[in-house]
Symmetry: C2
Subunit: 210 residues, 2 copies
Amino acid sequence: MTSREASVPMPRTARRGRPGYDLDSLLAVAVEVFNERGYDATSMGDLSERLGIAKSAIYHHVASKEVLLRLALDRALDGLEAVTQGARELDVSAVRRLEHLVHESVVLLLDHQPYVTLLLRVRGNSPVELAALQRRRALDRYAASLVRDAVRAGDLRADLDPTVTARLMFGLVNSLVEWTRPASRAHTQALPDEVSALVFDGLRVRDRPR
Amino acid sequence: MTSREASVPMPRTARRGRPGYDLDSLLAVAVEVFNERGYDATSMGDLSERLGIAKSAIYHHVASKEVLLRLALDRALDGLEAVTQGARELDVSAVRRLEHLVHESVVLLLDHQPYVTLLLRVRGNSPVELAALQRRRALDRYAASLVRDAVRAGDLRADLDPTVTARLMFGLVNSLVEWTRPASRAHTQALPDEVSALVFDGLRVRDRPR
């Protein structure tokens, strides 16, 4: 019996072949590479090269590339679900819940931009991606239901289709991943308010005769 | 001297190996495949397979995959530049020009969705992509200048940064490529008006005390 086959567990401090990476920092680099090259086009070899560690060292952390994808998508989805849960728990009108949802979604997107970017590019090519899409759709449905409730309450205009409105609203929020850079954080501090202002109040000056 | 080296040009009716494809329909299929797999991940072999014709038949139309990309990006950019030119030529205020730009950009996006989708995914990985990004940036600059002029004229709110506002505005327009499907055209007919309504007037009911 060789030592690898021994049933005695490896001590947790044995970190051979993983210079400087815990699962968290490894995941951060993997997400960066996925976003640059596309998940499907990225091999474990690509990750090993970028990380500067052997493939076997990656497999020490995760069983497959797909596990990295799942962990990354979970991070984005857990965050978005927490934002949604926060909106549900507020004891306010539907339009206020919706304002909270939009504002906090922008905050989350800016804080976890690489993870949300990855989530938004998922197309359903595997069970992991399909499960992520299903969780996204549940969030979309809740947003659409808030729009409908706010229209019914007379707080949002009734001339737009609620499902389309919800999609436009979050299309705008999600479009931020395309042009905001985590580096330019100083410039993005006002973004949650700016997005809310555009969505709810529009750009036109209100008290001006047209 | 073989016949291929002869200086006599091939007659235009000689269409061996191109069953049913002219450059236009070949381009349409190529753009579809580029959007599905990513341009970089698509080989001429992939295109040949999808088209059901030999690679040599593709090379009869275009010298390289990059030419297909350039032609596709040109189609999107020519359209967007025509929309911009239309806005420039209107003898109206900046805010009206901007309304025209937003409305007609949505119309164009819905009419040429696969081409615009491809354009929006370009990241600058080659001279063709860099040239396309440069043309896109010129359009963005014009839109930002209209926002600034409209703010100065007192027609748009002054509390938002004009560059950010222009980006949000077209981030919203561009987000349509992510969820509208050419097949569902009946449902998208109202979209140009809906996007304009959201951007300029916002979702909140105006004459209601808050």
